[in-house]
Amino acid sequence: MSNQYDIIIIGAGLNGLVCANILAKKGRKVLVLEANKQVGGLANTREFASGFKVSAGAHLLYGLHPDIYRLCDVQESKIEFADKNISTLVINQNKEFINYSSGEDSQIIYSSSLSEQQNSDWSNFQNRMKTFSDILFDLANKTPPRLKNGSIQDYKTLFNTGLKLKRLDKQNLRQFLRIIGMNIYDLADESFTDNLQKAAICFESALGTRLGPRAPNTVYNWLNRYSIINRQPAGLSVPRGGIGSLSQAFANAALIKGVDISVSSRVEKILIADNQVKGVQLSGGEKFAARQVISNADIKKTMLSMVGPENIDTDVVRRVSYIPMQGTTAKMHLALNQLLEPITHNVSDFQSRIIYAPDADFIERASNSIKYNQYTHEPTFEITFPSVQDSSLAPAGKHVMSVLIPYVPYEHKEGWAQRKERFENHIIEQLEYIFPGIHAAIEHVETLTPADIERQFNITGGHWHHGEIGLERFMMLRPTAGFAQYKTPIDGLFLCGADCHPGGDLSGAPGMNAANTVLQSK
């Protein structure tokens, strides 16, 4: 392997791989360096107990930006899905439930007690919101424009966005300008009469952030997530073999295009001379040269550790260091020796994504403790049973359960070393209420607090969006002003991770947009 490349990409997360594919397709000689043994970053599958595999980061695919398959020469039809159009089952402590489909035309499929009117409330809400999330979708594949000293391209983007907004009818434009800054709690309250419907909307909107549903700007989060899901013919899905297969597909496509991918290669330093990138140096001392380096690592790791404060202005150091990047969501993987009792006496329960969230206030209360670096004693959950969707993930007759626990702090007040075991036990105790008998069925448990996610996946804070997402960190404000065009103050250094517009959730859009920026730059 020669050590001279056109472009080096740091990190083989999904965004890094998408970026590598697009650049290699345009004839660039690309090297991808990954610190872990596996490619994929948070989009991976791994064995967590003997014979039990799980998507260790994201456990569901909301969907890639539809442009990506074409740009990367990855045929969507060739990706084998273990399950598509996965529905969502929301339950409360009284075992009442609603089950709805995701993707275009989301509808209530079945429920314990919804009236006809309430069923159509759901569809009406989804239709109304689609108009607005489409606006965000149109922005998802654009480089955020600069608002002053911009290029012609920037003014074009601004003008086109303005035009799109103007094309909305008056009523919709007014509504859009109102709800974009609202909290999801109030919007749900305005739109629904059923507690589970409200809870479903609030949960989806707040998931992955530290905000409760009553915090302003949470409507934006919902629209942002749905802007992508709405465009997926497959709806919510999981690839066969877990999310890791998706990363593998993009890695394979990159290899075919001549990209070199080197795992277990931790970049320690980005080499810079005269404010121009020269290459990178690995922790083992090995050096690789390139005039352009794109970092799929988060901005803090990239700028404050790999570039180093000595190479950037104090003001930039300050800006980068105050980006809130502390993780908010823990993950738990359970190896079960049998499947549990269905909740709704419907066998298909376990094929759904299960959300435990009795009502919006419950979610709000759950969000309180993270503000004080504690976990909540009454948590909400998002649960999947990957082995039900894909039997290859567990030994015959046995099952894997994957649980997301929102509002878990990165640092526990008393230190995770002290509290992790109690946390794990507490969560299992809570799960026992929802799934009686689970305790007895557990063969193995793996718990990832945000601090564990930080360590295992090399993401500062272990935040799955590489930092909080919200209106105050949207477009030209993401990840922070001055970095929003995928560029950094260092010539030849770019960012392509989820901390860039439009954020995480495995859309691949930051990687795609970054690649386009690199192609346009001299």
């Binding site: 608002l147 300008l177 609202m182 503000k371």
Partner: protein, 529 residues
């Protein structure tokens, strides 16, 4: 003679400002007030013999100087006395004082953190820039982003031009500032919990947000925009209490031949052929005018005074959805003498200003959690002010009056409506909290008026007791306030206008909504002041 050119419903300060401008344009104007006294929430009342209480709003500084001058309020007896001082007590027996003088404030911050003292220069410059950006907009009508009318396009162009004055980095800072949480914003500058706690107090006053809620940074501005005698950011008390503002406005109004009737509760707007033509009182009297202006909040106006049949259904829904959240209570306390605060050095001026007792954002946020749960904060945020140090004329010699603003207190408790026991328990929580910092305070209490959000609603007519007539969140600011499409002081009914704090630029004793509404009304009549 019950015919007028214009009728203003409600003699709050905005109603009076509005009426003054209309009367000055030679419109025969009548102001109708439900209470036996004028002022709304800008009042001075004797609730204990010899003691004048400013029992609602308690400081004057946001009042627009332009209005002050145009309505000649000095000539009509309004005197605003600036005061220095103020502090936050810390739990460990220390205090952080407030100074109007930047250098003095910086030295004070240095007692807590040398780094924060340095950062204060940047912070003050940045916040002042945000103030300068917003200030001219206080007395402008928000442009309608949907409209193609010349004046709206001009307004949007103005907004664009105002932004272009800033550097690129400053533009992004501005966009962020309006959406970010106070907590995130302050974390950029400061490290000391006490300093952050001290500053963040201003980010939540009157709102249903905590300092960690996005959007709370902007609320800081509502407390920095003030000026007294041209000194930006300084605070003052009106001589004779906040009622003096209402009285001066009334005097200015009467000098322009305006007429005020108290004890006149408006029950109904009279609409004929789709136009507002008059009002009917509870006592059956009717008054007529082709211009009717409501100083009531938007919910009271359109859900109580106006009959639904005159309004588009969609509009009524949006009024119902308008967020007015009661989040604060008030104690007004007559004191037998000046309480002592042992944490302060002898002769400290800190006690002359706002005294707060929450010394970290976390405590403030926990107070907000209590409120979300439907209880008053067990560790309440208290903004106490003893205005009689600056204006001793309000009380008998040697006595003092203490105004205590308390947050958070919900309009309805999780146990139901407020009962008398709840109210006393709430008052006791606050008194105990203050007594922790002043051992002789309890013994000096002669009389305490305790006001829950419910009481504030019943007396001042503020829905849920919300002091701003509606939340100051992004979805309810500028062209969204109060209702998208109706942000230019006009209602769906021709001849019927809004001039209360539910309209742009919102609450605080500012007078801007009243003045802006008057400008729009006169424009419709093709008149100017």
């Amino acid at each position: 003679m019950n015919n007028y050119d214009a009728i203003v419903i409600g003699a709050g300060h905005n109603g009076l400002v509005n009426a003054c401008y209309l009367a000055r344009a030679d419109l025969k104007t009548l102001v109708l007030e439900r209470n036996p006294y004028i002022g709304g929430a800008s009042v001075t009342r004797e609730l204990y013999p010899g003691f004048s209480y400013t029992n609602c709003s308690y400081v004057c500084s946001l009042f627009r100087p332009e209005i002050f001058r145009q309505l000649e309020l000095s000539r009509h007896g309004l005197q605003v006395i600036p005061y220095d001082g103020g502090c936050t007590f810390t739990q460990d027996g220390n205090y952080l004082a407030t100074y109007n003088d930047h250098e003095a404030q910086r030295r004070e911050f240095a007692r807590f953190s040398a780094r924060d003292a340095e950062a204060y220069d940047d912070y003050a410059t940045d916040v002042m820039r945000h103030c300068r950006f917003i200030k001219p907009w206080l007395l402008r009508t928000p442009p309608d982003p949907v409209s193609r009318k010349a004046k709206d396009i001009k307004g949007l162009w103005q907004l664009y031009k105002d932004l272009q004055v800033l550097t690129e980095a400053q533009i992004y800072d501005t966009l962020e500032f309006y959406t970010i949480s106070c907590g995130d914003y302050l974390n950029r500058y400061f490290e000391s919990d006490v300093i952050k706690g001290h500053i963040s107090n201003s980010s939540i006053i009157g709102t249903g947000l905590g300092p960690y809620s996005p959007g709370s940074a902007y609320v800081l501005l509502h407390h920095y925009m003030g000026e007294v005698d041209g000194r930006i950011g300084s605070w003052g008390v009106a001589r004779g209490g906040m009622g003096a503002i209402a009285n001066a406005l009334a005097s200015s109004f009467k000098a322009s031949q305006g007429e005020i009737k108290t004890d006149c509760s408006v029950e109904n707007l009279i609409v004929k052929e789709g136009k507002a033509v008059g009002v009917a009182l509870e006592n059956g009297d009717e008054y007529y005018a082709d211009t009717i202006v409501s100083n009531l909040d938007v919910k009271r106006t359109f859900l109580k005074v106006v009959d639904k049949q005159h309004l588009p259904q969609d509009f009524v829904t949006q009024v119902q959805q308008f967020k007015i959240r009661g989040s604060s209570g008030k104690l007004n306390i007559a004191l037998d003498g000046m309480p002592t605060f042992p944490a302060l050095p002898e002769g400290s001026t800190a006690i002359r200003g706002h005294v707060n007792i929450i010394d970290s954002m976390e405590r403030l946020e926990r107070g907000y959690d209590d409120w979300k749960n439907g209880t008053w904060s067990k560790d309440p945020f208290v903004d106490l002010l003893i205005p009689t140090q600056t204006d001793p004329t309000m009380v008998p010699p040697g006595k003092q009056m203490m105004s205590v603003f308390v947050q958070y207190a919900p309009p309805v408790l999780n146990t139901g409506e407020w009962t008398e026991e709840d109210k006393q328990a709430f008052g006791q929580t606050v008194i105990d909290a203050i007594a922790q910092y002043s051992p002789d305070f309890k013994d000096l209490i002669l009389h305490a008026e305790i006001r829950t959000p419910q009481d504030i609603e019943n007396e001042a007519g503020l829905t849920q007791g919300n002091i701003f007539h509606g939340e100051l969140t992004l979805d309810q600011l500028l062209f969204n306030r109060p209702i998208p499409g109706y942000a230019q002081y006009r209602s769906p009914i021709p001849g019927f206008y809004m001039c209360g704090s539910s309209t742009h630029p919102g609450g605080g004793v500012m007078g801007a909504p009243g003045a802006n509404a008057a400008r729009e009304i006169l424009a419709d009549k093709r008149m100017t002041v």
